[in-house]
Homo-oligomer: 217 residues x 7
């Protein structure tokens, strides 16, 4: 009888933490986000499903779902529970300012701080885990482009190109075909935009507004 193990943040007999897995499930049901490390920068993109806006009055992407400029050389996208993702964005902005004061805000240090921010949500029993996944990209102190995927289920992983969300399987295929180490931003932009779900008719028609959705960093 496994029910008890998944009602709060605890280990199951085989070492799983179901609440973290369920939180990750949330991030796999919303929009799809992709990130591509290019030679001069990192391309971040997000494709939002238009379900909340059947009439043309919804702004997409908006203040809370856009690609965020965290710092001069750092960008971030999130998918999953909107408010959960946004508090990580706000934390990132705060930490970037703090790092800047302490000598410089490169992506590597920032991501480290975000892991320390996210971890307790999956450890403490007086709160639920964060229902968000994050792609953070930028240029480190050595002027190398870097891309990190942080997730509700405790992921913290570096990638050269990555995708997450409902359309991630198809996106990953496109990314692995199109990715090369020496992509310029133009090419990265194209790969990022093309990595959209193909089988899912409804999602396919959801375009990726390249003005708002992809920011060059």
């Amino acid at each position: 009888m496994s029910r008890g193990y998944d009602l709060e943040t605890a280990f199951s007999p085989n070492g799983r933490i179901f609440q973290l897995e369920y939180a990750a499930e949330t991030t796999l049901r919303g929009g799809t986000m992709v990130g591509v490390c290019c030679a001069e920068g990192v391309v971040l993109a997000k494709r939002v499903r238009r379900e909340h806006g059947r009439y043309p009055l919804v702004v997409t992407p908006d203040q809370f779902t856009r690609v965020f400029q965290i710092h001069e050389s750092i960008g971030m996208v999130h998918c999953g529970l909107l408010m959960d993702g946004y508090i990580v964005v706000e934390e990132a902005i705060k930490q970037a300012v703090s790092l800047e004061k302490a000598g410089g805000a490169d992506i590597e240090k920032l991501v480290t701080r975000l892991v320390l921010f996210i971890q307790p949500f999956g450890q403490r029993k007086n709160m639920r885990p964060l229902g968000t996944a994050i792609l953070a990209g930028g240029i480190d102190s050595g002027t190398k482009t870097r891309l990190f995927l942080l997730g509700a289920q405790g992921i913290a992983k570096e990638h050269r190109a990555a995708a997450w969300g409902s359309g991630r399987d198809e996106a990953k295929e496109i990314l692995s075909e199109g990715y090369k180490e020496d992509l310029n931003l133009e090419e990265g932009h194209i790969v990022g935009s093309e990595s959209r779900p193909r089988g899912d008719k409804r999602a396919r028609s959801i375009g990726c507004n390249s003005e708002c959705g992809n920011e060059k960093i």
Copy 2:
């Protein structure tokens, strides 16, 4: 057996947080509120059901259910649990003062702060989520009109025109027909007032007091 997942703020196996959805349900059962971005300002309106006042001695809208002037250029309406909505209004007033001191209180910054205020109620297990939805509208630092819907279930979304509450479906239809980018306040006022439920006889007779219910911002 899904019962356990919905008694406190936790994830269900498919990534849902039932307590947040139930809180949203609350906001869909009370009054209806609408917001319309016009060229010069944002029209906010609320239609309250008169169930608590079968005798003519209830003040509608009153101190707690009216359209709130948060700041010179920012307004707010809420629907759902009255006290829950009101504490967000009070927070908004406090934050507007704080932003004003820090250089300027535009709607974009204010809404950001409200998301940070609302999010923990849906995260922490020692309290229930807020049972309220909020429409916040105003003019940003670039003198553009903006409208945001924040909700108990974790919504934080920008709109050009929006409706929430028991009569939101019908209201949305009217809004999508009548909305244009270049509405003046007069026209926006009319669209907002007309977007009232039609099928529901009892609700239809509940008028929208245009002196109190609609404020030009």
Copy 3:
């Protein structure tokens, strides 16, 4: 199986918070209180059932159940759990002093502060909701008479005349017949006193001591 939803402050699937409703039930089983806005002031009255005093040695109304003079121009009555009501009275007195120092204690500002005081009791899981309902009346900064009903179930509503407690249905009928905008205090006093339950024989005989129970403000 709805049982789980009502044991602590949480949402039920259809957006209700049973603990708040049960708390309100408490306020409907004790004494009846009425309030009437007149031209020059607000009449507040309370009719207490004499069940705790079958011998003539109980003081009614007393130190804890009387109409409270919160401030020069603000009065308050409560019904439901005695101690719960009284801590709101004490908070009101404290806030009135604080408002007076900050420039002036009108009823509108005071009620706003009380809502902020009462709301968390219905939100946090480490305490039960307050089992009290409150009628607060007085004169605002614009010398207009105002009357507010605040309640355990999250009500915060402005009225011209209102009743709450075990005899509220009958009281409301009398109030709606007798209320007029231009009542003088004398007339308001009479309406308030007459709005006593008629069908319930036991309760009818419980008089309203007009010296203690009705204070002119």
Copy 4:
């Protein structure tokens, strides 16, 4: 199935708080205490059952069960759980000192402070309610004698004469027969002493030591 409602401080569907009622039950099973307002002072008495002392080596009443002199003009008795009653006594002494410094410790102000002390025990879920009932009597700032009954179940009520505990029904009858507004202390003393249970043989033989048990205030 009503069981769940009475395991912690929560409301039942009909607005009762069983834990408060059970706490009150405790106070009805121990000794009996009586209080009588006379012209010049208040008589407080306590009759303790001798069950803990079948051999003549128990001191009755003692350091913890006697009538307490809280202040020059204020006395107090408690019944129910001994330690619970005693912490209220200690709080009263502390508050009397604090009031004295702030201008004067009359019984009315003191009782107000005790209500604020007792209320949270019946509100917060991280503790059980206090299992005590208290009779506090004294002379107020207007030199009028006052008597208050504060109880675990949230009672806070003013009386001219009152009884609580296992023998309270019979005591109340005697009090209502013998009480008059103009009793002198001598007469009040007699009424207080006589109001002892008659039907209950075992309790009747428990005398009321008039040296220790009744203090003139």
Copy 5:
């Protein structure tokens, strides 16, 4: 179905707090302690069962189970859970020092402070009650000998002679036979030593080391 009421510190329908009663049960299963007020002082004694030391290598009574000299004129013994009793001893020593500084550490004031220390353990739900009973004896400011029994179940009672623990019934009989108001310490010592269980063969053979176990105060 009474089970739920006894798992945490809560009231049962008839006003009992089972966790306090169970805690008291603990104190009735260990050693026996006795106290006797004599003319010039108080005799305190403890008889420890030798179950933990079947080989002659256990020190009895030791650092933690002996009769404690709390202050020049105050002694203390405890029975039940060893560590629980010891933290009360430590608190007593701390309070005696604090009282000494504040003008004088007589037994009456000290015991009052211990009640305030012990009470919350039986009130708060985030801890279990203390599983200890305490006999505190000494000379008060009026040079009268005093003896108090404080217990896990909320007892705080003054005695002239008292016994607690597994052998308390027999001990009480001996005490009530042998006790007189004008015992000198020598006689008190004898009464205290003799009040050992007789029916229980195993316990009888457990002697009371009069050097360690009985200290004259």
Copy 6:
């Protein structure tokens, strides 16, 4: 149905605290430790089962399982949960430094402080009890050798010689045969080393490294 009583730190109807007993069970399943008071010092020894190191690469005893020198004249061994024992060791070192500053760190004072450190773990419901048993030995201010056994189940007992852990029964037998008050350290060392389990073949072959495992204090 006794199940509920043993899931958290609470009393069972017959006054037992199962969580404390289960914690003690842990200490009886690991290594065996012995302590012997000699004329000039105390011998402490620990025999660790080699189960974690089937290959010769494990260090035994190591940084965390050795006999600890807490202070010039105080030593300590623990058995049970490794990390639990170690935090008591660290506390002991900290307290020894603090006592040294306050005038002198003898074993009696140190053990007193450790009891105050360990007790709350068996009292508070927001943590589990410590799963460790401790033997602390040393020389007190009167230059007498002393030995104390502190345990998860609330033991705090002084011994002249003691054993705890999986092999304690056999060890105790050897100790009671070989112990004499006037043992010199050499002889104490031999008694300590010999008191190893005999019946249990696997354990017997586990030697007691006399260089590391026995330190003279």
Copy 7:
């Protein structure tokens, strides 16, 4: 019925803490890590399964899974839940800085501090245990090489060579064959690299990048 004992950090009747064991299970399902003490230094290596990166765009080992240089002479690897391991790494870096300031950061002192950091996670009920195992190696103040294994289940053990994770059984065999006290770093490196699972085909092909994965310390 043993279910209840394993849902939170509590003892089972036979002294086990299931949540700690389940947390250890987590650490046995991820990558394999090995550590070898050589004459001049300690070799630490980690072999990560490539499951998260079926396309060649994942960086392995990366910012969060690499061998960490904690201090000039101290290194660390972790396996299990990524974020859990990383917060221990961050703590280690913080403590190394603090130790450096206090006179010197040798491996022995650092590991002591980490035990104090990790222990409460397995003690307190308001959080789950850490799901990580750690190998920390380095040179102590006596210039001796040291290696410690710290684990979720409360392990804190010193080794000369150790392995943990999914492939630990096979790795241990290789280590015990190849280990000698006088290995130079070159040889240690080879032993560490060879100790990879052989039976598990998928895992075997996962190489150990000797540039990133093995750092000489």
